[in-house]
């Protein structure tokens, strides 16, 4: 039998469920339960916590020990990958409106509900029409709501971008300094090459080629490491928050950007380092 204290949670969850009906998708198929008994759906988090499965019967009641209505679990739903819900630990239940009214003891009263328009309909026009006709509430297009609710994430996104830019600039300076130092460490080799007749352009080409190869291999290794790190992060946090949300992503465009940037920086660093060396006399390079 369904534990009664959990029903209160179910009721609260049901109220929340009303606001975002499209954020869930069924993972267990609905079962035809017949006309005699009505059905609900629960999310997999609740199913796992309460040990419920499709076909189980539960009692919907506003309080423990109160009279309720027996319902059957028709489907188990999985949450969508919505970052705004990751940290929330509530359960989600879909139930009939009259059940919800009974549970919340607020008959004929809802806070929010969603209206799905036909695909060809313009959401802005639909919401304008509703607002014109309705009294006591306002309708918003889903895109507008999404923009409003994702404001925090846009700030976070900008913050991440800023961190990314700072990291790239700092890495570029670091890479440049390392390349200059590493090339300078080989000034004797370069001096010897110049003494035996290697032209300045040959030396520059060799240094730039080597720096480019190191950058290319380094960036590919870095992308591989990043992919592995993101896999570990996702594996860990998806488990912690029981969500399919991907917390870290390495997309092909990110890899292409990283490799291109690294290669560009490698070429520039190699060019600067090589130019710095070949400007000096060969004898000076070998320390004479």
């Amino acid at each position: 039998m369904f534990p009664l204290p959990l029903l209160r949670v179910l009721a609260l969850a049901a109220a929340l469920q009303q606001s975002t009906p499209s954020a869930t998708s069924p993972i267990a198929p609905p079962r035809d339960s017949g006309a005699a008994i009505r059905s609900i759906t629960i999310d997999e988090r609740l199913a796992a916590a309460a040990g419920l499965s499709v076909g189980d019967r539960v009692l919907l009641a506003p309080a423990a020990g109160a009279v309720g209505d027996s319902v059957v679990i028709a489907a188990i739903t999985r949450r969508g990958a919505d970052p705004s819900e990751v940290a929330r630990s509530e359960y989600r239940v879909r139930l009939h409106l009259d059940h919800l009214e009974t549970l919340t003891r607020s008959g004929d009263r809802v806070g929010r509900f969603a209206v799905q328009s036909r695909e060809e309909a313009d959401p802005s026009a639909v919401s304008a029409a509703i607002n014109e006709a309705a009294f006591g509430f306002r309708a918003y297009p889903a895109a507008e709501v999404a923009v409003e609710t994702s404001a925090t994430f846009r700030v976070v996104n900008r913050f991440h971008r800023a961190i990314g830019v700072i990291t790239i600039v700092a890495s570029a300076i670091f890479l440049l300094c390392i390349t200059l130092l590493k090339v300078d460490e080989r000034r004797r080799d370069v001096g010897a090459l110049r003494l035996i007749g290697m032209s300045r352009s040959s030396v520059v080409r060799a240094v730039v080629l080597e720096a480019s190869l190191v950058s290319l291999i380094g960036s590919i290794m870095g992308a591989g490491l990043g992919w592995f790190a993101s896999w570990v992060v996702n594996w860990y946090y998806q488990g912690v928050y029981a969500t399919p949300l991907r917390f870290a992503i390495v997309t092909p465009s990110i890899v292409v950007f990283a490799v291109t940037l690294s290669l560009g920086l490698g070429v520039i660093a190699g060019l600067l380092a090589a130019q710095r060396l070949v400007r000096r006399a060969p004898l000076e390079l070998i320390g004479r």
């Binding site: 004797r188 003494l195 035996i196 032209s199 300045r200 004898l283 070998i286 004479r288």
Partner: protein, 243 residues
């Protein structure tokens, strides 16, 4: 009459420093004929290495002329001098200066690659030169896998890669132990007997004794010249070892 490979006339090299300039080389004139082996000796700071740098188109004289196979190296610009060092002169340094990431064979191929010698040709010549210096079996070894003497042999093979008119060696035995130094002298002797024109700067008395002609320098000038073996005398000069 042998061809004069190197002709230096009244060569001077002054270094501008605060106060009085330093006169490193003071009006040196020197002829080196094809097939000759000249050892330049003298105390430290007498101008030996400066002279060698001038003869090798590494540095430019303040005055005078230096002609190698008829080309005035003193008047060459940097690009011309670099090209001339590549094809006209072979250098052997005290510290070998081999590329650590390349094999012995690749080190020898390097100047030929820069001179645009076709790959098959330069691989064959590198093998031939390494065999000549006694390292045919170690062509694929990297410098760190070779002893000091072996590295210097590779450096000599590299210096000969583009068949230069003149081989210049700056203290070629300076980093080697006595036995390896003797082996190196024997190799220079064989090179010379096979027709290579050599100018060495050295403190090594044994190396100087092996040369055909010894030029003594002091305070930037030549103070004495001793012909030990005239050109045409092809008896082995090095004692103790054969290359």
């Amino acid at each position: 009459m042998r061809e004069i490979v190197l002709a230096a006339r009244d060569v001077r090299r002054d270094y501008p420093v605060v106060g009085e300039p330093v006169h490193a080389v003071r009006g040196i004139s020197l002829d080196v004929a094809a097939g000759d082996w000249v050892a330049v000796v003298g105390p430290s700071g007498c101008g030996k290495s400066t002279l060698l740098n001038l003869l090798g188109a590494i540095d430019r004289p303040t005055a005078g002329s230096i002609s190698i196979r008829g080309k005035d190296v003193a008047r060459m610009n940097d690009a011309e001098a670099t090209r001339f060092r590549l094809t006209g002169i072979g250098f052997v340094f005290q510290r070998f200066y081999l590329m650590p990431t390349l094999t012995a064979s690749e080190n020898v191929e390097l100047p030929m690659s820069e001179a645009k010698v076709p790959r098959a040709q330069r691989v064959a010549r590198a093998r031939e030169l390494l065999t000549y210096v006694g390292l045919g079996a170690r062509a694929d070894h990297r410098p760190y896998q070779l002893s000091g003497g072996e590295q210097q042999r590779v450096a000599i093979a590299r210096a000969l890669a583009n068949q230069p008119a003149l081989l210049l060696a700056d203290e070629p035995t300076g980093e080697l132990d006595a036995r390896t130094g003797t082996e190196m002298i024997a190799l220079f002797d064989r090179l010379n007997r096979d027709g290579t024109t050599i100018v060495t700067v050295t403190h090594d008395e044994e190396l100087a004794q092996a040369a055909r002609r010894v030029v003594h320098m002091k305070d930037g000038a030549i103070v004495d010249q001793v012909v030990r073996r005239p050109l045409g005398d092809d008896a082995p000069a090095a004692r103790g070892a054969t290359a």
